[in-house]
């Protein structure tokens, strides 16, 4: 699966793109590949907050429900409402149109604890081999 340069990754398979004061969060190509076709996305309300490693939403595939964990803490400034009508964007464009929330990070240092692209690629390979 594709892993992009310039993003940070959590071991629960979410990505963060940090630009200025905004961090965009979604799930990785690897994650959507394992889930299969996404049929419903549950998103948080605007103007709520998220905490590192806590669930902020859920992605439903045909057979399974998966909680989405936030890689960092912060205030939600925008949610991707397109996913309500088109949950399949998570599959077709996990890093672009399929983003889930935008957050104003409350402790930017949390980003340092996440994996870079090389480390995440290796992490996925090891996880797949273990299954």
């Amino acid at each position: 699966s594709t892993v992009l340069e310039g993003l940070k990754y959590a071991n629960s398979h979410e990505w963060v793109k940090h630009e200025g004061s905004v961090a965009t969060i979604g799930i990785t190509a690897h994650a959507q590949d394992h889930l299969g076709e996404v049929v419903f996305v549950e998103l948080p309300e605007d103007n709520t907050s998220v905490s590192k490693e806590k669930s902020f939403g859920a992605v439903e595939s045909v057979k399974a429900t998966s909680e989405i964990l936030s890689p960092i803490s912060g205030e939600i400034i925008e949610v991707n409402k397109k996913l309500t009508e088109s949950p399949g964007l998570i599959n077709s464009s996990p890093y672009e149109d399929g983003w889930m929330i935008k957050v104003k990070p409350s402790s930017p240092a949390e980003l340092e604890s996440l994996m870079g692209p090389k480390e995440y690629t290796k992490f996925c390979e090891e996880e797949d081999a273990a299954h």
């Binding site: 629960s12 049929v39 595939s61 045909v62």
Partner: protein
């Protein structure tokens, strides 16, 4: 992303097709003590749709095939199940339910009368140990009173399910017997692809199709031959799509939609209780079940359509005023209908088709309505 779903792999049993699954990209998961393919390279969505458009081949060898033999095998089995076994013609069968003393379901099972002195049945993998213990205990008592019955557990055989519109034309290439005379529920022992098989025209998808009990040593060859003869249109299909297909067909999954405390009447399987059995009883829990038939059950299994996230088992069902009226037992997104479907139990009186309900998913109520099952029309092969 944290999966709520799959348990870890331990000391799991393997079917004769295990290596074949792995070689074909099967994602193996633990299921009822077996390592089974949840899916192959095709997505669950694509596999489910392909079964109804073309066909699917499933390895269901984790299920337990069993023969009861002896001149009293029919009256013996009738003490344990609700079916009119005596009334079945040789070579025909039915879905039935093993009941307990309280009228609850121990398991559901497809039984076939091979001859008046031979019954072949298949029970669920997850119920194998308790079913066999239950049958054995009653068989001992029955024999001690002079009854003639014995059993053979078919652990030397595999079980393949071939389902969908291409099932019959593909299988016809592999046998000289005329399959057009074998109707839904019928059974025949015959040569398929060079080995002696038990063939039942049945399945768990709502489609026309077969379950083929084949000696272990011929199982891989038969699977290969079926895939080859279909020119790639019949696809290996895992348990994920199998569950979507049975849900679309409105069929119960034991352990979800039917349990120890649920009676066949509550589960909507009154049709499976033979007429003679309704009059005579004579099976475990008959007093409870016959009373329910008279008074009507207090809860009933129904189908649902819903908006929002797919309802899953244990989602609460509320009426429009917010009172709990029942619970979902199975639910998901229907790949063929492209919408959420579910089944569950509600209080009698609130079970009418069209009743508006709210289904709670992660604490939030979503619109739903009670609907008829099957969700997708069944295509069983019956005489016209």
């Amino acid at each position: 992303v944290s999966r709520r779903y799959f348990a870890s792999e331990a000391d799991l049993k393997k079917t004769a097709l295990y290596d074949f699954h792995v070689a074909h990209g099967g994602k193996m998961v633990p299921f009822a003590g077996w390592s089974m393919p949840i899916q192959y390279k095709d997505s669950i969505m694509d596999s489910t749709v392909n079964c109804r458009e073309n066909g699917s081949l499933f390895d269901v060898a984790h299920m337990c095939g069993l023969s009861l033999k002896g001149k009293d095998c029919v009256p013996f089995l009738e003490t344990l199940v609700v079916a009119d076994v005596a009334g079945l013609a040789p070579g025909t069968g039915s879905l039935t339910v093993f009941t307990n003393e309280k009228g609850g379901a121990i398991d559901d099972s497809v039984i076939t009368k091979v001859t008046d002195e031979h019954i072949y049945l298949v029970v669920n993998a997850g119920c194998r140990d308790k079913d066999l213990a239950h049958i054995e205990e009653h068989m001992k008592a029955f024999k001690s009173k002079g009854g003639d019955v014995s059993w053979h557990i078919h652990d030397e055989r595999s079980l393949l399910a071939l389902q969908g519109p291409l099932a019959a034309p593909v299988l016809q290439h592999l046998t000289k017997e005329d399959l057009s005379k074998l109707y839904f529920g019928n059974f025949q022992i015959l040569d398929i692809n060079g080995s002696t098989c038990f063939l039942t025209r049945t399945g768990y998808t709502g489609e026309d199709g077969f379950e083929i009990s084949v000696p272990d040593e011929h199982a891989v060859d038969l699977a290969k031959a079926i895939l080859e003869k279909s020119e790639g249109k019949v696809r290996l299909t895992g348990l994920g799509a199998r569950d979507s297909l049975r849900l679309e067909a409105g069929l119960c999954l034991y352990g979800n939609d039917m349990e120890q405390h649920i009676s066949p009447v509550e589960a909507g399987l009154t049709w499976a209780i033979g007429k003679r059995r309704r009059a005579e009883g004579g099976f475990l829990g008959a007093d409870v079940i016959l009373q329910q038939l008279k008074d009507g059950p207090t809860i009933r299994r129904v189908g649902f359509f819903s908006s929002g996230p797919p309802a899953r088992s244990h989602s609460e069902v509320h009426d429009e005023s917010g009172n709990k009226i029942g619970e979902i037992t199975s639910g998901g997104f229907s790949p063929n209908l492209k919408k959420n479907i579910a089944m569950g139990y509600v209080k009698s009186g609130q079970h009418k088709t069209g009743t508006k309900v709210k289904i709670l998913v992660r604490g939030k109520p979503y619109e739903g309505s009670i609907t008829k099952m099957p969700f997708v029309a069944t295509k069983y092969y019956k005489p016209t």
